[in-house]
Amino acid sequence: MSEPFDTHLQELRRGTVVLACLQLLRTPGYGYALLEQLERRGFATDANTLYPLLRRLEKQGFLTSEWNTEDSRPRKFYVTSEQGLGLAEILRQEWRALASAIASLHETSTGPSTDEEH
């Protein structure tokens, strides 16, 4: 795929990973498992982007974390905080608004328009 093509796609996807993480981490999860979950659900992300992102979200108070030492190896589990749930809701609303805006854009430019009758 061409270079500018990739850049535009990346820019469009950038914010969606945050929303996906906040949503998936309603049930506690750890780094690598979350990476795989994201991949399966169509939000492919690089490990070197996700791990620092989780820490940033934690620092901003949207996630909380806890070390779990019961498993075979100690893992840091993240879970979405109250504040994070609020952010997820706002992001979701924004996403829906954008989706319908884009859909209407598509209708008016291709389909037969009723607006022009006015």
Binding site: Y32, N48, Y51, R73, P74, R75, K76
Partner: protein, 318 residues
């Protein structure tokens, strides 16, 4: 036993992180890398292959560390770039010229050989360029790294430049003619009666031997200057031709003045004696005054030339 690649990778990543973060990031990275390696082992890969692949995917530890600690991976970011660039351009015009001129003047007054004067002046100019570039950039890098919240003056529409008049108008023509006439009058008066009045009688400031050819040449230069201004007025704008003519006139005037000065033929020795030497000014001081006069002449002519080209450039913009 040598350390594993994973250990090396993690140590490299966390060394540049703030101390309280280090252990936490180490433990988390260890688990994440081990998980990723395990997943690859389950698919039948060799351990060493899997480890390499996982670390390669994580990429340069420097970038990962910067990402963990929110450090910028650029020297000067968009917040400061334009301010840095504008300041640098301005200082790179002013400072090296001042350093070059200042050292040249100082060395000339010290009376060292001309080769030394040129060498020292060029070295000072180049040194000034390097220093300005380095220190200005360093200040901005520090601002960037310390995450300074300094808000540099916000841009607003009032900062847009009014297209400046370039001296192609009627007022410039009138000024040029008036000064031309006054100049011619002063020169002729100086030759006929003597401009300086010392002890009740007139002493010419310009050398008496300049009459007729030296004086006529000066008058011709003044006439051409006025003519050039008239031509620019007629066309209502500066052109490359007028800038070239302006440059030629400045060079002709400068060579006229410097040649005569060099042969002690510009200023009237009688006037110099009466005005300076008789009042206790030492010969050394006279030499320094001479050098300052040369610098003044060169500086004014150089500015005149540069100004002509700047106006030409401004007027040739659409």
């Amino acid at each position: 036993m040598s350390t594993t690649l994973t250990e090396r990778y993690i140590s490299t990543t966390i060394t540049s992180l703030p101390a309280p973060l280090q252990d936490d990031v180490r433990a988390e990275l260890e688990a994440s890398i081990a998980d990723a390696v395990e997943a690859r082992l389950d698919q039948g890969e060799q351990r060493s292959e899997a480890e390499r692949a996982v670390l390669t995917e994580l990429g340069d530890p420097g970038i990962l560390a910067a990402s963990y600690s929110d450090r910028p991976l650029h020297l000067i970011g968009p917040r400061f770039y334009l301010t840095w660039w504008r300041l640098l351009k301005l200082l790179l015009i002013i400072v090296p010229i001042c350093a070059f001129g200042g050292v040249a003047l100082g060395k000339l007054i010290e009376d060292v050989p001309i080769g030394d004067v040129i060498g020292a002046s060029i070295a000072a100019g180049l040194g000034a360029i390097v220093h300005v570039a380095f220190w200005v950039t360093l200040v901005f890098v520090i601002l960037e790294r310390t995450g300074s919240e300094t808000t540099l003056a916000e841009w607003d529409v009032d900062q847009l430049h009014e297209p400046r008049p370039t001296g192609a108008g009627r007022a410039d023509l009138i000024a040029s003619i008036v000064f031309g006439v006054i100049g011619v009058g002063v020169i002729l008066w100086d030759q006929a009666r003597g401009f300086a009045r010392i002890d009740g009688h007139g002493v010419p400031i310009l050398h008496p031997d300049l009459w007729p050819w030296g004086i006529l040449a000066l008058l011709a230069i003044i006439a051409l200057e006025v003519g050039l201004t008239a031509m620019i007025y007629a066309r209502r704008r500066w052109t490359t031709a007028s800038a070239v003519l302006n440059t030629a006139l400045a060079v002709v005037f400068l060579s006229w003045a410097l040649t005569l000065l060099g042969h002690d033929l510009l200023l009237n020795p009688e006037f110099l004696d009466l005005a300076f030497v008789d009042n206790g000014v030492q010969p050394d001081t006279m030499r320094v005054l001479g050098i300052l006069l040369v610098f003044g002449l060169v500086g004014i002519s150089a500015w005149d030339i540069v100004d002509g080209w700047l106006k030409n450039r401004r007027d040739s913009r659409p």
